[in-house]
């Protein structure tokens, strides 16, 4: 009886939740390809891009939102607000940006904005309904930033799909990501070239319900 009532309440709740749109966040370390993946999704389903991509880390320094993205697969539809976040890091050195070719002034302001972006990304964790954690599958997955992001999502009971990006590169090692996070579904894709993107959309239906 009580359980029935509970289910009933939950039912009402989920209706509301659907109405106000699910927030699907994209998190990860800098340069993993978060914005590239966001662009891939937006190009495929809205015909437009979401944000700027760059080989220099901390390109995204503010939260970006795309409202009402609807994807379809097997006759099912799924709508969400897509949220691209600044890459999370434990250190930021403007001299690294100078080494990548930026002027000193530009490098310093990029660093300043990047520190704010990291804080904003962390603050927004609480707002998410589901999260894609994008990792560069050519890099060592046992990075504390990855562990911190995934640990915080787990502590908040937010469903997670780990996306091992850049599988088009020779050094890519999705197995290593799976070994590092055995409790999670890990999917290898190439956001840039589209490898495995159909499977990725199918997984999205499992992640966001």
């Amino acid at each position: 009886m009580i359980r029935k009532f509970k289910n009933f309440l939950f039912g009402i709740f989920s209706v509301f939740k659907n109405k106000k749109h699910v927030k699907l966040g994209i998190y990860g370390p800098p340069n993993a390809g978060k914005t590239s993946l966001a662009n891939r999704i937006c190009k495929d389903w809205l015909g437009e891009e979401m944000g700027k991509v760059s080989p220099i880390p901390h390109e995204t320094r503010e939260i970006q939102q795309k409202e009402k993205v609807t994807i379809q697969s097997n006759g099912k539809r799924l709508s969400f607000n897509l949220i691209d976040t600044p890459g999370i890091a434990t250190k930021i050195d403007y001299e690294d940006f100078i080494k990548k070719g930026l002027e000193k002034k530009e490098a310093q302001s990029r660093a300043k904005e990047a520190t704010k972006g990291v804080i904003e990304a962390i603050k927004w964790l609480d707002n998410m309904d589901a999260v894609l954690v994008v990792l560069d599958s050519t890099r060592n997955p046992y990075d504390q930033v990855n562990i911190t992001i995934i640990g915080n999502l787990a502590a908040r009971n937010i469903p997670v799909l780990i996306v091992g990006n850049k599988v088009d590169l020779k050094k890519a090692n999705v197995k290593k990501i799976e070994a590092a996070f055995p409790q999670y579904k890990v999917l290898g894709v190439s956001a840039e070239y589209g490898d495995n993107i159909e499977d990725f959309y199918k997984e999205l239906f499992r992640l966001v319900r």
Partner: protein, 126 residues
């Protein structure tokens, strides 16, 4: 200048709330020391440490390198082993494991493969 490693036993952290723990760690790291802490931070404390670190970054302080080890990370599908780990987790909490935190200007990278750790130090300017 020698590299100083400061050991922080678990007892030194137990009496502190999260905010105080983070302050303490950052204070030591800003003295250009590498911390070897007994136990691990909670995910929320780690996120808090990153936020505070970002707020402190300036022309001198570039941030931190951090790596933590916990026996609970062990990849196991054996039920018996899982129960044992849960039990130890319950009894010892975050006391088990180790955390290394260093200033990014000194520790360039902490490379961690499940069990071993390599500290890559930068060529230090005097």
């Amino acid at each position: 200048m020698p590299l100083i490693i400061q050991y922080i036993p678990y007892e030194e952290m137990t009496g502190l709330d999260s905010e105080k723990r983070i302050q303490k760690l950052l204070k030591v790291v800003k003295q250009n020391k590498v911390i070897l802490m007994e136990g691990t931070l909670s995910p929320e404390e780690e996120a808090g440490l990153i936020e505070e670190t970002m707020q402190s970054i300036d022309s001198k302080f570039k941030g931190v390198e951090i790596s933590s080890f916990s026996p609970f990370d062990k990849n196991t599908r054996l039920l018996q082993e899982k129960i044992r780990q849960l039990f130890l987790q319950f009894v010892l909490g975050r006391r088990r494991g180790l955390t290394i935190i260093g200033p990014a200007s000194i520790v360039k990278e902490i490379k961690r493969d499940p069990r071993s750790v390599q500290l890559f130090l930068s060529n230090r300017r005097q």
